[in-house]
């Protein structure tokens, strides 16, 4: 799954990502694309709080892409 959150300011990229993660199954991977610098810190912090795993981040022509693997427990 790909989520294009480029152009959105914090905390919207994480909110969109969390909404998509709720629909996903454990083990699914989501690639979230972003430009807001806060997302660099907040996506890993969110993943830690929710038990997901950040697989890596790479730069795009415009912005960055972070891949997250959905964990077992996505219960708030």
């Amino acid at each position: 799954m790909i989520l294009d959150a480029r152009g959105l300011r914090c905390p919207m990229p994480v909110i969109r990502l969390a909404a998509l993660a709720r629909e996903a199954a454990p083990g699914d991977e989501i690639e979230v694309r972003w430009t807001d610098p806060a997302a660099a810190h907040d996506i890993p912090a969110w993943a830690r709080m929710r038990g997901h795993e950040v697989l890596g981040t790479h730069e795009l022509d415009e912005g960055w892409a972070t891949t997250v693997r959905i964990g077992e427990r996505d219960a708030p």
Binding site: C10, M12, I15, A38
Partner: protein
């Protein structure tokens, strides 16, 4: 029922202490003249200024010749970094800081050393001593800078060990105690110490910088009779700073214990709000400072919601400032940088006010989450 405003953002600018107000008014009568003049009015101002310096030096634990007044805290930090870097140019040009220093320290460090080293910190914002040892022990270090405690999250730094490592390496240590002096015992583990009168209840307009006589400095700017404050500082502001420091130091133990307990109470009730991270060391911290981050919330909306509910709070979130970058402190800690609120309890805060605030946070957070469509995530 009308409720009064509750001011919980007393970091850097605290409500003016009554002792400072009184001293300021008296000094406006007696100390308005230029202390560099030789007539009676000038001498009276000089006498007040010297007395203020002596009083502040005594409380900070240095000699009066080592105590300088500056135009303000940022000016103190800029001047300290530049003067030591210039004075030790023969030794080297590199500067070492922690990653969570105040922006004024980081920008000054990069101003004199483009490749200034920012030593990483742990989840609580405490500097990594092993990395610190490596950085200050490297050849060519002109200066190291480490805060006494972090002004955003309150965590105290391991200053004794950090200073010992600097001493062993022969590197002078600048300690930013801007968030600490007046609230906490800052000790003697420093070579230069910067303190902020605005933070301890004096009116803004003067800063304090202590420089041990063993530290080699050179003023990079044009010559002036007072190189740390070209043209001199306002005498009434200096008098007010000393009077406020005397007053808050006398009541510090009691005030610190009371506010330490209030922050502990706040930390525990905020932890119960869903998806709120309470940051910093729960024990080894400043008595009055607290930062928390709320998932799925933007800091600006939360500051506004709390303001409408009667509470003035600060925020280190990028969403709240014109700067695009999130708080470098929260980023270095690996904490959530959005939805961030910083509290600095003023001395006058009451138990009831803190409890009212604790009760107001949950509903304010829920309202912002609802507005952003982030409920139930």
């Amino acid at each position: 029922m009308t409720q009064t405003r509750v001011y919980l953002d007393a970091g850097g600018r605290a409500p003016v202490h009554p002792a400072a107000r009184e001293a300021l008014l008296t000094a406006l009568e007696d100390g308005w003249a230029d202390p560099r003049r030789l007539h009676s009015e000038g001498r009276r101002a000089r006498h007040l200024l010297d007395g203020s310096r002596a009083e502040i030096a005594g409380i900070l634990g240095c000699r009066v010749e080592e105590l300088h007044l500056t135009p303000g805290h940022t000016a103190s930090l800029h001047a300290a970094v530049q003067a030591v870097a210039a004075g030790r140019r023969r030794v080297g040009s590199s500067v070492v800081t922690s990653a969570v220093e105040r922006a004024a320290v980081l920008t000054a460090a990069r101003h004199v050393d483009r490749d200034a080293v920012a030593v990483p910190v742990d989840r609580d914002a405490r500097v990594d001593l092993e990395a610190w040892a490596g950085a200050v022990g490297a050849p060519g270090v002109a200066l190291a800078a480490l805060q006494h405690a972090n002004g955003e999250v309150g965590t105290r730094q391991p200053l004794r060990d950090a200073h010992e490592l600097c001493r062993a390496a022969g590197v002078p240590l600048l300690v930013d105690a801007g968030a600490s002096v007046g609230h906490d015992d800052v000790g003697a583990d420093w070579d230069l110490l910067a303190a902020d009168p605005g933070d301890w209840g004096a009116p803004a307009g003067v800063g304090v910088l202590a420089v041990r006589s063993r530290v080699r400095t050179r003023q990079p700017g044009p010559e002036d009779e007072d190189p740390w404050a070209p043209g001199g500082v306002g005498v009434p502001q200096a008098v007010a700073a000393a009077a406020a420091l005397r007053a808050v130091t006398a009541e510090r133990g009691r005030s610190a214990a009371r506010r330490h307990g209030l922050v502990a109470r706040l930390r525990s009730s905020l932890s119960a709000v869903p998806d709120v991270q309470v940051l910093g060391d729960p024990q080894d911290r400043l008595p009055h400072v607290l930062t928390f981050s709320c998932l799925y919330v933007d800091g600006e909306s939360l500051v506004d919601a709390l303001d409408r509910a009667g509470f003035a709070v600060g925020s280190g979130s990028a969403c709240t400032s014109s700067a695009l970058e999130p708080s470098h402190v929260l980023a270095a800690m690996g904490a959530l940088t959005h939805g961030n609120i910083r509290i600095a309890l003023p001395r006058e805060v009451t138990d009831a006010e803190v409890d009212r605030f604790a009760a107001a946070v949950g509903p304010a957070v829920a309202a912002v989450r609802a507005m952003l469509g982030a409920e139930g995530l």
